[in-house]
């Protein structure tokens, strides 16, 4: 549950929540690009730190930390997946550079997850749908997207109920070796998928009986408009990108090993 809580939108009034989702999305994409661009610890650390004022301003630090914790398992996996091959490849020794590289790759993952988390924590599904529509994504797609987002917590809750039901029938999820543990998820996943499909069919019928798609051109009660804050965010995004590209092209980024070693 904690992983989903780190992505679930909560209604809070903050300057970040009021921003246009399109601009926030651009900002997140820019962070993605920069994180992929650099493999060294220093710029990745800078990217990580850069998000902290954003999170504080949005007052979602608690949920944000929770998503960090949720990502910890995968982060650990990425760290091991990086360091173990290096260990064998370099003849059973690990240099400081190996450590640094693995930490940097893990940090890159954390940065990607965090920017994603901030975006979803501060953007309501409704706004997101509106943003998609206003960027001329066909309504069918934007509707499918917002519905999917909206059903994530519902599915998470359902998964919990299913797990309870199977535990009540003596299923011990934590028992057995690695393969057995994976197989333990079958009794949870099948009911979850079946009920998701069933739910989607029901939803489709309910939508159609409420004349979904009857008119080709829909109008919206609210329309997104770019405000001063949005332009400020755009400026920040462009700024980050410009600095990143300049550094990438013209400034050799030192690794920590080169700096101190």
């Amino acid at each position: 549950m904690s992983v989903f809580d780190g992505l679930k939108y909560r209604k809070v009034y903050s300057p970040i929540h009021n921003l246009d989702p399109r601009m926030k999305f651009l900002y997140v994409i820019a962070l993605f690009v920069v994180a992929i661009l650099f493999g060294q610890i220093i710029p990745l650390l800078a990217l990580f730190v850069l998000q902290i004022p954003f999170v504080l301003l949005a007052r979602v630090q608690k949920q944000w930390l929770r998503s960090l914790r949720g990502a910890a398992f995968l982060a650990a996996f990425i760290f091991l997946a990086n360091i173990i091959p290096r260990f064998f490849y370099s003849g059973y020794v690990l240099t400081a550079a190996d450590w640094e590289y693995s930490v940097a790759m893990t940090l890159r993952f954390v940065v990607l997850v965090e920017s994603f988390s901030v975006f979803f924590l501060t953007t309501s599904p409704d706004h997101l749908g509106l943003a998609l529509e206003q960027t001329h994504v066909p309504y069918e797609f934007s509707f499918a997207f917002t519905t999917a987002v909206r059903f994530v917590p519902v599915l998470a809750e359902e998964a919990q109920t299913i797990m309870d039901a199977q535990k009540a029938r003596g299923l011990e999820m934590e028992k057995g070796n690695f393969m057995k543990r994976i197989r333990n998820y079958i009794p949870v996943l099948i009911p979850l998928i079946v009920s998701a499909i069933r739910r989607s069919l029901e939803l489709a019928e309910a939508m159609e009986s409420r004349a979904w798609g009857a008119t080709k051109k829909r109008t919206n009660l609210y329309a997104l408009k770019l405000r001063r804050g949005d332009f400020a965010l755009l400026a920040i995004t462009v700024g980050i990108l410009a600095v990143a590209i300049y550094v990438y092209l013209f400034v050799p980024v030192p690794t920590l090993v080169q700096l101190f070693g």
Binding site: M1, E158, T161, I162, D164, A165, Q166, K167, A168, R169, G170, L171, E172, I186, P187, I190, P191, V194, S195, R198
Partner: protein, 274 residues
């Protein structure tokens, strides 16, 4: 025996669902837990097989503190049938579905075979043995879910909303089935909104409201007192309503059983005729 002692339960999202609940369910008792949505009924019964552990207070099942043992161990004594059968059905055949728990509990192959036949027969599912549970109707799926729990013959059975979406015949079957369980000295706890069903069964009734037990007593007593029921927005069973209207004729108020009602009314009619 299930002993609940001053249990508080707070969900991870800080909602306090139980605020000091104490009760004892003796072996062989039949209890119906009623109350509004969100009163804490399901939260309470999830403590009976250790799915939830109290934040404060203790729950003991046959003298064992649920905090000190695993769900799998407790589940063997306390069977729990969830409201929605679709939350547990996953096997390719009804047969496999029912033997799932038996395998989990480590029964031997012969025993599994025997229990399987017994459970299939008990709930009239023998002809669906090799059918996929997903192809069955809602009522049949519910029966498969019930059979999959009964198969290991637990001492106590918790049924969460067993009558939802069931036709009258299914409900009657369920009632007879509960009577049968009672005859075998099994404990049955049901969570329900179905006043008429409770009136027909006349179990011990526990009324919950906002995480507390507000009334505990015989079904006949609780289901006929509008003052108690009103606070949980439960309507009196129809027979009780009729008898309340007829109070001026000198009829008793605490009638929920249809046969008792018939006897009383016949007596009144006969006296009038004389």
């Amino acid at each position: 025996m299930i002993e609940v002692e001053d249990v508080h339960y707070v969900y991870p999202n800080n909602v306090e669902a139980l605020k000091g609940v104490s009760l004892t369910v003796k072996d062989g008792e039949f209890v119906a837990i009623m109350g509004q949505n969100g009163a804490g009924k399901t939260t309470l019964v999830k403590h009976f097989n250790g799915l939830l552990k109290p934040t404060q207070g203790t729950v003991r099942v046959d003298g064992v503190n649920t905090k000190k043992t695993s769900i799998a161990t407790l589940a063997k004594n306390v069977g729990f049938v969830f409201q929605n059968p679709d939350h547990q059905l996953f096997s390719e055949t009804v047969e496999e579905e029912i033997s799932f728990a038996l395998k989990n509990f480590g029964f031997e192959a012969e025993v599994i075979e025997k229990r399987l036949d017994w459970a299939l027969n008990l709930l009239g599912l023998t002809q669906y043995r090799k059918t996929s549970p997903f192809l069955l109707s809602g009522g049949e799926r519910k029966r498969v879910a019930l059979a999959s729990v009964l198969a290991w013959d637990p001492q106590a059975l918790v049924l969460d909303e067993p009558t939802i979406g069931q036709d009258h015949e299914q409900k009657e079957r369920l009632r007879q089935f509960i009577v049968q369980m009672q005859a075998q000295g099994k404990t049955v706890v049901i969570v329900t909104h179905d006043v008429e069903f409770v009136a027909e069964c006349n179990p011990r009734v526990l009324l919950m409201k906002e995480g507390k037990i507000v009334a505990d007593g015989e079904g006949k007593e609780i289901l006929t007192s509008p003052e108690i029921l009103a606070q949980s927005s439960i309507v009196l069973p129809q027979i009780a309503q009729v008898f309340m209207q007829l109070e001026s004729l000198g009829l008793p108020r605490d009638v929920i059983d249809i046969y008792e009602a018939k006897e009383i009314l016949l007596k009144v009619l006969k006296e009038r005729r004389k």
